[in-house]
Amino acid sequence: MSESSKLADAARRNFLARAGVAAGAAAVAPGVFLSTSTAHARPADEPVSSEKRWGILVDTTKCASDCNDCVTACENENGWGSSEPNSDAAQKAHWIRSVTIKNKATGFAKTLPMMCQHCETPPCVDVCPTGASFRRADGIVLVDKHICIGCRYCMMACPYKARSFVHEDLHDQKPWAPRGKGTVESCTMCDHRVDKGQIPACVEACSADNHNALIFGDLYDENSEISQALKAKDSVELRADLGLNTGVRYRGI
């Protein structure tokens, strides 16, 4: 056995042993749930848990047709706004974009932010040939760019046109949002902020400007602001007919 495969096997054995211990500990106390409120950040060395599911409620009745604050905030936070000078508009990154929809019969128009909807059953994950596209335990859908080969199947599969592909060499990326040529990217629901107990940049910008059109929170926590808001008033998933159970929901459309 080679040195490296010995190392890998050792790592695997230890991992399995530890996983076994963890499973045993969970079985010792059935019905006992450890939960932390969203106000307290998860410790840095603790993995994300499926006891939470992060979501965003977009109240489009509060969205002004000329407002672009959430998009600008995302660009600044994740560094994708003006990074691709040689790409045309259709090729450029769009982690979040402002979309205007119009009822042709009545002429009623509505502007809303459009981004990855963080589906419970994401089509992008289904079609990914390498496992780069994945759904984190807490419901955030991400691309592992280390594994992404840039085939763009996920871009084809996504009903929301949420993903984009980087066509050119990039420089001066943000340390918390690595992005590079040849990989697919999309909204990460600011996982680097959420992991610290903060809210996504778009939601923060929206409430900082006192628009309050975006509510972020744990969909599984009955007492969270987002759960209360969803319970109080009607909201919809986009393309609900696809049965994807999205984490991003809309009101007023």
Binding site: A44, D45, P47, L170, D172, Q173, P175, P178
Partner: protein
């Protein structure tokens, strides 16, 4: 006395031939190990002993990468960002030089060893926010460290058994 002379004779002959330049230099003996620009010090130690990091830094980074991307574990000790924070150098004007520039820490050794990495096609090459190493958050023993300790212990015990 005569015996001593006889013993020294071959040495003298060798020295002569060296002077004449007859002895050919070994291939690649003119290559020197590159000394990268650096701004860390003996007081600011690396996260593992230098010998360990020289040999195994890629394993620490690889493990941390998967832990962070897939499981949301954000300990700082083996984060690539902290490598960059500590190992980038500043130029005359005090501006940070990208860590993947030819004479800088990562590239100088990787080019010597003919290793082509593409970390920095995506990752930031200069410090952007202050280091959080040596804070309670970073000092917490993380799973990467546990794993590497486990591997070391296991290898040691296997070595003893053989």
């Amino acid at each position: 006395m005569l015996a001593l002379l006889l013993l020294l004779l071959p040495l003298a002959a060798t020295a002569d031939s060296d002077k004449d330049g007859e002895k050919e230099a070994l291939p690649f003996s003119d290559l020197t190990f590159p000394e990268p620009a650096r701004h860390y010090s003996a007081e600011q130690k690396c996260v593992q002993p230098v010998e360990e990091m020289r040999k195994n830094h890629m394993n620490y980074i690889l493990h941390q990468r998967d832990e962070t991307v897939h499981r949301g574990i954000r300990t700082r000790r083996y984060a690539l960002e902290e490598c960059v924070n500590c190992h980038t150098a500043q130029d005359d004007k005090g501006e940070y030089v990208p860590i993947n520039a030819p004479d800088q820490f990562c590239y100088s050794c990787h080019s010597y060893a003919s290793v082509k990495i593409d970390c920095f096609q995506c990752h930031a090459t200069k410090p952007v926010r202050p280091s959080t190493l040596n804070t309670p958050e970073a000092d917490a023993t993380d799973s990467t460290e546990k794993l590497s300790n486990d591997i070391r212990q296991l290898l040691a015990s296997e070595g003893q058994a053989q």
